[in-house]
Amino acid sequence: MTAPSPISSQQIDSSSRLPLFVLFGGAAFWLVLSSVFGLIASIKFHGPGFLADSTVLTYGRVYPAWSNLLVYGFCIPSGLGVGLWLLARLGRTPLARPWLIAIGAELWHLGVLVGLIGILSGDSTGYEWLEMPRYAAMILFCAFVFIGLWGFVTHRLRAERELYPSQWFVLAALFWFPWIYSTAVLLLQVFPVRGIVQASIAWWFSGNLLVVWLSLVGLAAFCYFVPKLTERPLQSRYLALFAFWTLILFGTWVGIPLRATLPTWMPTLSNAAALLMLVPVLGVVAMLVQTVGGTKTACAGGPLCYVKFGICSLVLSGLMLAAAALPQVSRLTDFTWFGQAQNALRLYGFFAMTMFGAAYYILPRVAGLEWPFSKLVRAHFWCGVIGTLLLAVPLAIGGVVQGTKWLNPEILPADVSKATLMFLGLSTIGDLLLLMGGLLFLLNVSVLIFRYYRAVFRVAYAEATAFEPAEVKP
């Protein structure tokens, strides 16, 4: 990856400018909107009458609006942005057809908007993590395939033939999503299967999306940025290979809850896989320790901090996933907030933080500008860390409390929910902090994009009004 090549990093970065602006600009916007919905949903537990008179803003619509905007609005486009940039950078080739990728990204954001309107107007599909209705899903699928295709083309045209671990992860992710999404949409909505098989497919999809897809993209960024930012080689390629194989082999089976009303072999297998998911997590920890160990690279609230915190969250979330796979624990944690805490750690703590770290590194380079408010990068980091922890830790404890109370038939349902209120209150503060973090990110990204185009416009205006049209290099 350090071999001299005819094309400079700057040229590669500027080739990916437009698609990355569209992907990250949209992602930052959806993230903020998602947090707003998350906050509304969270407040409803403290005042059930809050915004209750509107059909659109009832809890059962606001909640999926939060989860879908987070996953489809923020996670996937930002993951695509980082993935495409990695393919171009590591392949030492400019991004193929950036204009078409940008159109694909616009199409994706259109799909998210259509899906959001669908959910709020009552067209949610009723399958968790897959609520966007069929018409939105079609747009999303086409947009992903279109963007992914140009990712493959870029990869084919690479000048550096040797593959770096990050490329395995990105390529697998580009392949993974169309498969799982098309299966889920076709078999649940277009040609719906009968009965409980629907639930099995929905669980399979959500496991593959949240556990495998997000980890693939997050680890691709991890394998690139940790060595880059600490200026040490990745330790080691073999560990990365090990983590890659174990992640895809075990992770793909995760997702079916232990109490599912399916033939017993399915939940058993799925939860054995959840336990085995500790293996790739250990591999990642070994990579982090061996790569970073002994260096004194100050991260100072910059990208490296984000990536490190991401890995800590991945470990914690993997431990929670494994714990909940044990029958003794799942008795307490099934159907409680515990699962939500695990998801929050994975989505916000691991994936979003890793993507923020990557974006804070990539975007100034592709724009050729400094961050407009570079101090806010650090503020965002602390909002993200404290927000994630305030969201996940109380929900995990509250989930266990809730589960213990449900096991005692003497305790009335209203008292069970009362017992979780304090924990939900803390998590509302977590939601608020995450919203603030999202706003800081949106501010930085949008001002950066604005300044770039302002500069472009000024140059163009100066040229247009110049007495003698100047020769400009393309």
Partner: protein, 294 residues
Amino acid sequence: MKSSALVFLAAFLAVSASWSGFVLAPQIQLGRSVQTKALGAGDLYPLARPGLARQGLELYRANGCMYCHTQQVGQEGTHVDVYLTEAGTNAAGVIEAIRKYNPDLAKPDTLSELPKKIVQVADVPRAGPVLKALKEGGGKAEPLIVSTGPDIARGWGCRRTVAQDFLYDQPVQPGVRRIGPDLANIGLRPYDADWHYRHLFAPDNVVQGSKMPLYRYLFERRKVGAEPTPDALKLTGDLAPEAGHEIVPKPEARALVAYLLNLRAEAPLFEAPFTPPARKSADTNAAPTTASVP
């Protein structure tokens, strides 16, 4: 890995394995399920939901009820209660038979309050000798299969939820979290449509301390016509509409409540046997709980 083809092969192998396991296999195993005969009476189960209840399922989906209510009753096991149903004419013989299994009940009083639970055993084969002994003593006895576990003790159902229960649902909504109680059998519990309407309109007013959102948008306030609407809400206190007005459920509320009342998995099945409550006598009822407030 040196080549991209190998990466794709790895990804293909991994995802196709789980696809075969969790998409294809259940479709082969369960995708062609049809109605089965319930144990005992032999009725077909499940029945398709009636039209209004089917519309109600759409309301349940559109408003995301499944984020707070599961439809998955869990069960830890079963046991068998042996009940003496008739004492016959040989009181002494029956009492002797009872003494072998439950000395505390071996007294004439037992025979005067039939049917009476004599003993609890682990399974049906183990109930055999007890039944035989009681019969030889001159009485009549019946084994009742009872499901156990915290969900059952809460009165959320008479047995665990099984795949068959979801046969006709589209989408299937087994639920995510229990912020409120499980609804798999809400139609079997002692709440009528009027209770559900009032509960949806003002949850806190019906169930103290409830944190369920208000679903007022499923109702409309209007002037009383020539005659009051039969299912207008009977509200008191602050909630009551001013004179000459009434609060009536919109068609959406009627559909949703029809669906809720249709949620009843009461058929004993081969994979989840129990003795239906109808066959139990009221005063001997072992399980049904007092804590049936949602």
